[in-house]
């Protein structure tokens, strides 16, 4: 059947000349009546030619080849694949919001501006920071925004000797890549044996050349930096700024305020910290918050409220400029605003606590078969590690693929880099105990398979529309278009 239906035929392979899905009224005259021939294209683009029905069926069938959060559990460490309430999808797409042009007169967009202004205010309340920009299009762009804001701060003080950014070896790849894009030299520091920042290593890396220290809190091995206040003090004593990577803020909201920890700058990921669907890889939104002394350097414009009106015209003479065209991923920010309006402080505390409870529960349930690399209590995620020689030669990547056979997405694997054969499990706050128990049962089953019949794990997946993919085959002679 599969070969007959050709489920993964490309739209361009299904295409038949002359077929089409939508028709527009014909122009009265051809383009050549208005434009010189030399400006026109010589041959029509080779786009698919399908009816509307064929298009609908094509993309529907493709969608069915996906795992998705609505259908499957994603224990995907660091990615926080938690539920996103459906109301936010509807509300952020209301015509009154979605049909607004970014250059429409401000009198015509007061509703949008009010929502954005209130979102900025709520972000300030949950983090304790003095100002927020909504402009960054994603977490990684938020990082770049934060580091460029720090650079504008140092430059304004004529402190040009600061050329280094310190990043721990557990950091997301975006941290060092960001620092490099901002023109800084990256100083990587090793973590201590307990998975936290090695204070000695940090101290010897800190100098009057240090511009920023970037720390993810909780860190990527799922631990809260226990000496964080001391670290922040040392960073500040060195004259550097403390950038808190808020990728894991869902475990902190209502538990502790980043400003109280000494953060000068931080970004949030609206889809992880709050609630927006991941979309298969974006769009996200990465608002950046700043303490009062660095706030004037944030990108412009911010939404301000003056004389009963919301406006984007406030003066920001020290601003670093713009990070993207217009004002940010507004449709995503509206979802974040919805989330912050639907819960109060007590509920945020419970949500964060549940993220921590779920991760520790899974960690304890798997103990003995799959152990955490850093033993002990974790925050919202735990990093498991295996030794293939104890596992009949089975690797983490095999376990990841085998989980797909049981209807679970895989954990984040081989990250952080300091953990051998890492499996980073983040159940998130929205999964039920019953789902966690099912995940544990499947992991135990896979453990039994590893002991009794490792080949079935090594050959996984067996249930997907394709077998194990040879990723190297794609890079050898890249075929990137039809």
């Amino acid at each position: 059947m599969e070969t007959i239906l050709m489920h993964n035929q490309l739209s361009l392979e299904k295409s038949r000349p002359g077929r089409r899905g939508v028709q527009f009224e014909a122009a009265q005259k051809p383009a050549s009546a208005y434009l010189p021939e030399g400006y026109l294209r010589k041959t029509a683009p080779k786009l698919p030619e399908l009816s509307e029905f064929e298009t609908v069926r094509h993309f529907t069938k493709l969608s069915e080849l996906n795992y998705c959060l609505d259908g499957e559990f994603y224990p995907l460490g660091s990615c926080t694949m938690k539920y996103n309430p459906k109301a936010y999808d509807v509300l952020s797409a209301l015509d009154g919001f979605s049909q607004m042009h970014p250059f429409a007169p401000e009198t015509a967009v007061q509703g949008t501006l009010e929502a954005l202004y209130q979102f900025q205010e709520l972000l300030k309340k949950v983090t304790g920071l003095a100002a927020f920009t909504l402009q960054p299009a994603a977490g990684a762009q938020g990082e770049l925004t934060g580091i460029l804001t720090a650079r504008a701060y140092h430059d304004a003080r004529k402190d040009f000797k600061r050329t280094e950014v310190i990043v721990p070896d557990t950091a997301h790849g975006t941290n060092p890549a960001t620092a490099h894009m901002a023109g800084y030299t990256v100083i990587n520091i090793k973590s201590a044996a307990d998975g936290c920042v090695d204070k000695e290593a940090l101290q010897s890396a800190l100098s009057d050349r240090t511009a920023v220290v970037m720390l993810t809190v909780p860190n990527t091995v799922g631990l809260f930096e226990k000496d964080i206040r001391e670290i922040a003090d040392r960073v500040h004593k060195a004259g550097a700024l403390f950038y808190l990577d808020g990728a894991n803020f869902n475990a902190l909201a209502g538990i502790v305020k980043p400003a109280d920890l000494g953060a000068d700058l931080m970004h949030l990921n609206v889809h992880k910290s709050f609630a927006a669907p991941h979309g298969g890889g974006g769009p996200g939104a990465g608002p950046v918050g700043a303490a009062a002394h660095v706030a004037p350097f944030l990108p412009k414009p911010l939404v301000t409220y003056k004389n009963g009106k919301y406006t984007l015209t406030g003066k920001m003479p020290k601003s670093l400029g713009k990070m993207k065209a217009f004002y940010g991923n507004i449709a995503v920010c509206l979802r974040g605003y919805c989330y912050l309006r639907q819960f109060d402080g007590q509920t945020f505390k419970e949500i964060a606590e549940n993220a921590v409870l779920n991760a520790n529960y899974v960690r304890c349930c798997l103990k003995g078969k799959f152990n955490a690399f850093f033993d002990g209590i974790c925050m919202h995620e735990c990093v498991l590690s295996i030794n293939p020689s104890d596992m009949n030669g089975v690797h983490t990547s095999d376990i990841a693929k085998r989980l797909l056979d049981y209807g679970f997405y895989a954990p984040t694997i081989y990250f952080p880099l300091i953990v051998p054969e890492a499996m980073m499990v983040e159940p998130t706050e929205t999964e039920s105990k019953q789902m966690l128990d099912a995940f544990v049962a499947v992991m135990e089953k896979i453990y039994e398979e590893i002991k009794a019949n490792p080949q079935i794990v090594k050959d996984a997946p067996h249930s997907q529309c394709v077998g194990r993919i040879d990723e190297v085959s794609a890079a050898r002679e890249p075929n990137l278009r039809w």
Partner: protein
Amino acid sequence: MFIPHTSQDREEMLKKIGVSSVKELLAQIPQDLLYPALDLPRALTEQELCAHMRELAARNKPLKNFIGAGIYEHFIPAAVHALSSRGEFLTAYTPYQAEASQGTLQTIYEFQSCICSLLEMEVATASHYDGATALAEAVLACLRITGRKEVLIPAALHPHYQQVLNTYLRHQEGVRIKQSPAGADGSLDLDALAKNLSADTACFVLATPNFFGCLEKAESISALVHQAGALLTALVQPIALGIMQTPGSYQADFAVAEGQPLGNAMNFGGPGLGIMAAKKIYMRQLPGRIVGIAKDKNGKRSFVLTLQAREQHIRREKASSNICSNEALCALNAVIYLTLLGPKGLQEVAELNVERAHQLAEMLGKIPGYRVKFTAPFFNEFVLECPIPAKQVIKKLAKKGISAGYALGADFKGMENCLLVCATETKTAADLQRYADALGGI
């Protein structure tokens, strides 16, 4: 409720962990900072939230929109949103586990294929944040490839794009941005361009249409740029390419665009959809995700994220960019839109844009005191010179329910009376007439 646990669940879980309260799990956090007061407004129920958001949306005023300036209002067939809002697409993760993500991966491959064909370029990426950041990243690639230090841009480049370029290039050692002026007809002054190009020019940004809506003599410009040994980065409009000459046809090395017009709503300017394409020789300099064809262990065709050795999660500080999440769902909207329209539909839309904009230009240009400022060919946008400041025109027409355009005075000295006006296929003959009548009546 957002959190599913019953108190019994919680008790059992705590018991398994061996603690008596969740607070015990938070011992690493400075205890004096724990549980701060957040001072948030009262939590809303879903019903209250819906009422609140609908009230805010209703506070926006739906004016008849004649603004373009980088974000364009186009008709979006219903099937686009119906398909892209399926949970299987909407709530999927970045397709790192390829076997369980073939749907998303294939749609990205189809997106890349459609973009390559539309632009007549050899390779395209999975997407970037928006047109402005795509441009900045393409320029960074040109700097890396050539090792040269000067970036030449047209003076009539979108002001936001100029500002984003400034931000992205500011800390590149020794790099300068230089402007090349437009001529009297609104398009690039080729003599000035020839003088501005030098052995230090890494690339020229060819925006066509430029920010005044004028189309450029792309082939002549390309020849000049390449003679100087520089690279050509084209900034184009995807809908226009239904009929307009393509970056590939004039040998652009990189081509970027704002892809929002392809099936994505205006959304007050975001999310956008950064499109980036290049000649194949620059494939390994491209930033961001790319999907390629692979084989599974049985030799079956499949799709994966590929060439990842360029990316931050592998290369860290040596990566070609820090980009991670991009705009996958917007790219999905775009590929569904292009699939529905096909080559014929896209041509029709493009032709309607040309026609409506030219009809409107003719109508407005006839009103005493008003004139179409430039004579260069244009697609769906043109500059109208008014007898009074453009800002006043906008204010007056807003009162008549019309968003008249974008006032150029803030960004371009001496153009205080100039209004950038756009008409797409969404504007009917009656809409054009309404605009002309309103403008004639102020």
